[in-house]
Amino acid sequence: MALPYELHLAYHNLSRHPWQTGAMVVGLALAVLVMVYIPSTMSSFYDDMIDRTVEQNSAHVTIWPREKQKGRMAQALRDEEGDRAIIALTDRTDPRARNLNGYHALTGRVAATPGVVAVASFVRGNGTVSRGRVNLGIAIEGVDFPQYGRVINFAKHFPGQRLPQLGPSDVAIGFRMAEKLGVHVGQHIHIATPSVQRLARVREVFHSGYYDKDLHHAYVPLQTAQRLFRVGNEVSGLAARCDDLQNAPPVSGALRERLALKVRNWRDDNAALLAEIATVQRVTFFINLLVAMVASVGMASVFSMFVVNRQKELAILRAMGGSRGSLRAILMMEAMFICVIGTFIGFTVVMGVMGYEQSNPYQVSAETYGIASYATKPKLWSFLTAGILGFCTMAASAWWSGRRAVKLNPIDVIFGR
């Protein structure tokens, strides 16, 4: 099939102006690169945060004993004491009242709630670990590993991505804690709570990806934790997994109504972080908008100059009977050439950058960001958005530049009238 002469001319026009063509291609490639890279980076960071925070380190929904209202306690005390004394507003709740009673029955009720796919109990409290002269304040968490592993995908943190099998005297600690204490798997450390002090064998060392957790968190079996904190057969709370992460808020609302307990979901627990991310995403959107606008104006200007410099040629074509539509088609084809090549180069470079990041992740300050390394993952929607924006920019540039050029009288241009 013969190519239309418009395509032939468009190709010739671009190839005989390599500098102008190259500048437009590079400009578009850079704009595409930025429009793909920045949103992908932010989206990857968000996904990574969700994965690390929610999927691997905390439950979709947690159920806690209802906190006693301090005001209520003061009121109750006033009633008991009459009008003679006002008791200060201090938390005098019995530590045992901070735990869930009869959690086995409660687990069944939670599991029966629509949207809940797994439930596990846990005991949490603060304590210290020591070895030699090194002491650390830590959070101790007692869980039934197989059960808890169905709620939180924390098997990823352990060697071989397998859940550990801990005996009553075993402990799993973060790798930073192990480094700090100078301890290896199989060696012993001292664990102390306000009530109990005992020796525990390090059975596993985990990497959670969170700086603080890797330094200040230890897992023990559920029964061990119950003994360490002397809570008998009670637990601190229940953790539940929903069928969908985004389903957690309605499920937590339903549980709150049914159980009359304190129920929180991952959005409640990470409200500040989510708000910060939303702010950053808004800023990113405006940066991208600015990039798109600057790129569009730049492209339109360069393309306009490209067309103005060729007015005489366009006039010759008009004089030979070339229609306005044909001239517009030539300009549009030139724009599309630039669009396809620029977008392809932009995509290729950004894929290269992301591929490099995947194999050489950015090292970031773990103390500041909670994570030690980071890499951007390609996001299909950002490629689509950049591709569509690139296409629209070039199409608009061709239309805008060609609008006046095709209306000029050939005689005016040829004779400089």
Binding site: E313, M320, S323, R324
Partner: protein, 226 residues
């Protein structure tokens, strides 16, 4: 009549308006070779532009092959121009990035001739104007006379009813110019191409079968040779 110019006036804006053509009437038969002569500013090129449909008259009508061309819509006018009119300007208006062959093919392609047909026709014409060995050269690689021959071949590629030339030898030396005019004469004699040519050169005008002299936007004389 192939061309009928009927009471055409062309004026340009300004105060007072500049009237370049005053009620000009002219008829050209098929196969004629007409030279429009006269001093600069007499209105010859303006008449040619109006006849070529690239410019519109302020008053009057122009009929080519019975069609009132300035009543055509833009699309019909483009089609009419590409199929019925050929132009040669003083400057060689060739596209610098295309070869001689591609330049000559271009009007054919614009008129939607197939690439093969346009190529065949362009090759024939370039051979006829003596540029068989220059088909692959770009305008920058050709002399002024060769470029003007390419222009001539390009003007003829769609076998136009009317060939319009605006001082085609003005930028050429005498010998080269003579060669070009000889080509025009051959085209007219052998192929019966109707030619309307603007020229200052009385020697060139002497070749034409008819000589129309313009003075101050009016036809001062209209003489046929022989």
């Amino acid at each position: 009549m192939l061309l009928v110019v009927d009471n055409v006036t062309r004026q340009f804006g300004g105060t007072p308006p500049l009237v370049v053509l005053h009620d000009v009437s002219l008829s050209v038969e098929k196969g004629e070779f007409v030279a429009l002569v006269g001093p600069s500013g007499a209105g010859k090129t303006t008449l040619l532009n109006v006849v070529s449909t690239l410019d519109a008259p302020s008053r009057g009508t122009i009929r080519i092959a019975g069609v009132d061309v300035h009543r055509l819509g833009q699309r019909e006018l483009n089609r009419f121009r590409s199929r019925n009119l050929g132009f040669i300007f003083q400057d060689d208006l060739l596209l610098p990035h295309l070869t001689a062959l591609e330049n000559v093919m271009l009007p054919g392609r614009i008129a939607r001739l197939s690439r093969r047909r346009a190529r065949q026709r362009a090759q024939e014409l370039l051979e006829r104007v003596g540029l068989a060995d220059r088909m692959g050269h770009r305008p920058g690689q050709l002399s002024g006379g060769q470029r003007q021959r390419v222009n001539l071949a390009r003007a003829l590629v769609n076998s136009p009813a009317l060939l319009l030339a605006d001082e085609p030898t003005a930028r050429l030396d005498q010998a080269t110019g003579r060669g070009i005019i000889q080509l025009f004469q051959e085209l007219n004699d052998q192929l019966g191409v109707t030619i309307v040519m603007v020229t200052h050169d009385h020697d060139v005008a002497a070749v034409a079968k008819r000589r129309v002299e313009f003075i101050d936007g009016r036809i001062a004389s209209d003489q046929r040779r022989g």
